[in-house]
């Protein structure tokens, strides 16, 4: 799916005024220059509530141009309410082409997932971030967390991981799993599942993170080290799924559970809808789809 | 023989600020030398300042004037003017004090208490333990008590633990503040033997012994402290 929209609104291009976009671009440039460092910016009121991606939308609005192709996903899916409305927002205000295809997009805005299809040089992945400060729930004082970042004092984060192992026998955190960026700054990939953490590591794409309510922007430039924290004897591990996607048969991908009926029937399918559809179009068949087609 | 302790012109009075600054003279112009291997016993009626003199030598009481030289292995220290650190080092290495009262430390066994006193002076563990056990035996402390904290011991048993503690290390100078008070004859004799041992090892001792029999046996000299009576200020 690829459509072209014409700007039919009285708003400035991509909704934000030019001064605001310049201000945000400066913040983005600074963020790229200091990988993982949270740059404060003057977050604007957006025509959507906090928690719906106001940070990501402002970042996207500041970098988007008429020649871009935009993809928006929420939980890996292109067709959830949030994804659809943000996509429509930019179709309307930025006259930009939109797509659901990962490889066709130049800018991908996401709320959690990183697409299964590997990103390439020139692509920009924009994350919507609710809580940019990884130390926040351990240390409530902003003055103190800033100092901890300044001095790279990150022992406390390991205390949290220690607590997990002591309580659960393993590091129980499955999303927003803390990472070190370029060996210097501790970064929250919030609320990305830890399954996707390895995709951030040395990705050829530019990764930008926008937190609207918390007024922070941070970035991982292409080919930057993003290392998940762990212990020598409890190394970082991604969650493994014990079955392939029920629809496309893909293995080693992130799966969502879908309830089929009220008798306990369920299936596990790709959370990345584009990936699943692409595979099915290529003829791959998972367990359930296979059964249905046999029946038909 | 060169003296181990030289006391020269020492005087002491207490100023009782809570009683309108009343001056309480204790002793004046105390002068006394004690040589290695010598035991000097302080005599005189109670209240004459015997115990205060021992406390001044130990650095427990300050002095108003005069000098108290204690000759440690690495040179003399004037207790009257030494810094707290110097006094602490002197006490650890050279200057011991044996009183009849044990300041019991909860939860530390009698044996460990004595071993610790020897260890503080740098005597290694095995030798310290051997010495401590031998002392407890000589002072007739029943073996079943050795591993117990002395807090629950009888007064006499605590006193003997404390004596063992005072005698276990190799101090060059020992101050004995009525160590035999209220001991029975057998244990008094044991303490006398310990004092003789120390003399043989060249330890200089200054003591207070109320028991006349003990005093006669251990004293090389008896110094009547009433001659140091302070002149009223």
């Amino acid at each position: 799916m690829s459509t072209t929209a014409t700007a039919t609104t009285p708003y400035n291009y991509a909704y934000l005024d030019e001064q605001t976009k310049r201000m945000i671009r400066r913040a983005i440039l600074k963020a790229i220059a200091i990988p993982g460092y949270q740059v404060p910016f003057a977050s604007r009121e957006m025509p959507m509530p906090y928690g719906w991606g106001t940070g990501g939308v402002q970042v996207t609005a500041s970098i988007i141009g008429p020649t871009d192709t935009l993809k928006v996903i929420d939980q890996g899916s292109d067709d959830t309410t949030n994804a659809v409305s943000i996509r429509k927002f930019f179709q309307k205000t930025a006259a930009v082409a939109v797509t659901t295809s990962t490889s066709a997009a130049t800018i991908i805005q996401t709320r959690h997932r990183i697409p299964e299809t590997p990103l390439t040089a020139g692509q920009v992945l924009v994350f919507q971030v609710p809580t940019p400060e990884p130390l926040r729930f351990l240390e409530p004082r902003e003055t103190e967390t800033r100092k901890m970042h300044a001095l790279a004092e990150y022992g406390l984060m390991h205390v949290k991981l220690y607590e997990d192992i002591a309580k659960h026998g393993r590091i129980a955190k499955t999303y927003d799993y803390p990472t070190m960026v370029a060996g210097r700054y501790l970064m929250a990939p919030s609320p990305t599942p830890k399954f996707d953490n390895p995709k951030m590591h040395r990705s050829p794409a530019l990764q930008l993170f926008g937190a609207g309510r918390e007024k922070r922007i941070y970035a991982v430039p292409p080919h930057t080290d993003v290392v998940s924290l762990d212990f020598d004897d409890y190394p970082f591990e991604v969650n493994k799924f014990d079955r392939p996607c029920a629809l496309c048969g893909a293995e080693n991908v992130y799966l969502d559970e879908v309830i089929l009926d009220d008798r306990g029937g369920r299936m596990f399918v790709c959370s990345d809808t584009d990936h699943c559809e692409t595979r099915r179009a290529e003829g791959h068949r998972g367990e359930i789809l296979g059964q249905e087609e046999t029946r038909a | 023989m060169a003296p181990r302790v030289e006391i020269d012109g020492v005087s002491k009075s207490f100023v009782m600020h809570l009683q309108g600054g009343k001056q309480l003279p204790v002793v004046g112009n105390v002068s006394l030398d004690v040589s290695a291997g010598e035991c000097v016993v302080l005599g005189g009626p109670s209240g004459a300042g015997k115990s205060s003199i021992l406390k001044m030598i130990y650095g427990n009481y300050r002095v108003d004037s005069g000098h108290i030289l204690v000759h440690a292995a690495d040179g003399p220290v004037d207790v009257a003017s030494a810094s707290p650190r110097e006094i602490i080092r002197l006490r650890r290495q050279s200057l011991g004090y044996v009183s009849q009262f044990l300041r019991a430390i909860p939860r530390v066994s009698a044996l460990d208490l004595i071993v610790a006193a020897a260890r503080e002076q740098g005597i290694e563990e095995e030798r310290a333990t051997k010495r401590a056990k031998s002392l407890l035996e000589r002072l007739n402390v029943p073996e079943r008590l050795w591993s117990l904290p002395p807090a629950t011991f009888s007064g006499g048993e605590q006193q003997r633990v404390n004596i063992a503690r005072g005698f276990v290390a190799d101090h060059r100078v020992l101050l004995l503040d009525e160590p035999t008070a209220s001991l029975d004859a057998v244990n008094r004799a044991a303490v006398v033997e310990l004092v003789f041992d120390k003399k043989r090892h060249g330890v200089a001792m200054i003591g207070i012994f109320h028991d006349e029999d003990v005093r006669e046996r251990v004293a090389d000299r008896i110094v009547d402290v009433t001659r140091f009576a302070a002149k009223a200020a």
Binding site: K147, A150, L151, E153, G155, L156, H158, V159, Y162, E163, I165, A166, K167, D230, F231, D232, D233, Y234 | F14, V15, M16, H17, L18, K55, G59, N60, Y61, R62, P84, R85, I87, I88, R89, R92, Q93, I105, P106, R107, V108, E120, Q121, G122
Partner: protein, 260 residues
């Protein structure tokens, strides 16, 4: 046994003013390795202000504090940069608060509390961190089965012992203590003091302990500084000051206690 001839910490002319009000004024002393110094006085005497200045929690109005770092150099602690100062505070120094809630993370397990300093200086082996934490819990006499319980479920005495373990795990050379036995029951106090006395002697710690309790000073310290109205009015060997107090105020303090 040799005593180093260079002080570990040296304070010269320390003053702290709160506007017109004197916190403490003109305090000078040297503290040597392995030495325990008690600062005694009533509330408002300036002893806690002094402790805050010495431990760099408070900037003095005048005077200087220098410390012999692990590499042997004497450094002005207020000239250290923030990173050096914080590293010093969590490795070579300890601070035991009267209120354990200030010195502990109440929602983090006992093991995590003890392990935090280790992780802060780069330990990344869970098994080793945990066994070190267990070892320290044992040394401060906390039941090892409580390792995964948070201090909010601990009694006051246990919290205080946990705080001590948390501080000592990096083998500091100097520990500041602010009324460590304050607010505890008498029997709990005795046990804590006994434990502290043993640890201080075993580890050769230098300690600056602020207390209004002369019995605590008697049991733990080699030396005493008596403070009143922000000034040090008397100082000396602990047993000397307590048995032969010279200043009127010290005599009053000593005579006010039943038996120390």
């Amino acid at each position: 046994m040799t005593i180093d001839d260079q002080p570990l910490l040296s304070a010269r002319g320390i003053s702290k003013m709160y506007g017109q009000h004197v916190g403490c004024t003109d305090v000078s002393f040297d503290l040597f390795a392995g030495e325990v110094l008690a600062v005694v006085g009533e509330s408002g005497s300036g002893k806690s202000t002094l402790l805050s200045v010495l431990s760099t929690r408070l900037e003095p109005t005048g005077g200087a504090v220098s410390y012999r770092m692990r590499d042997g150099t004497m450094r002005d602690v207020f000239a250290l940069n923030e990173a050096e100062r914080r590293l010093l505070m969590r490795t070579d120094w300890g601070f035991v608060h009267q209120d354990a809630r200030e010195g502990l993370r109440m929602g983090i397990s006992a093991g995590g509390n003890v392990g935090e300093r280790l992780m802060a200086v780069g330990s990344r082996h869970y098994g080793e961190i945990r066994s070190t934490a267990l070892d320290w819990l044992g040394r401060v006499e906390i039941d090892l089965t409580r390792v995964d319980d948070a201090p909010k479920t601990f009694s006051g005495g246990m919290r205080q012992r946990l705080q001590i373990a948390r501080n000592l795990v990096t083998q500091p050379r100097l520990v500041f203590m602010d009324e460590p036995t304050g607010g505890l029951d008498v029997s709990v106090q005795a046990r804590l003091l006994d434990l502290l006395r043993g640890l201080v002697a075993d580890l050769g710690l230098a300690v600056i302990i602020v207390t209004h309790d002369l019995a605590v000073a008697r049991l733990l310290s080699h030396r005493i500084m008596v403070m009143r109205a922000g000034r040090v009015i008397e100082t000396g060997l602990t047993d000397q000051v307590l048995d032969d107090p010279r200043e009127p105020y010290t005599q009053l303090l000593v005579s006010s206690v039943l038996q120390v």
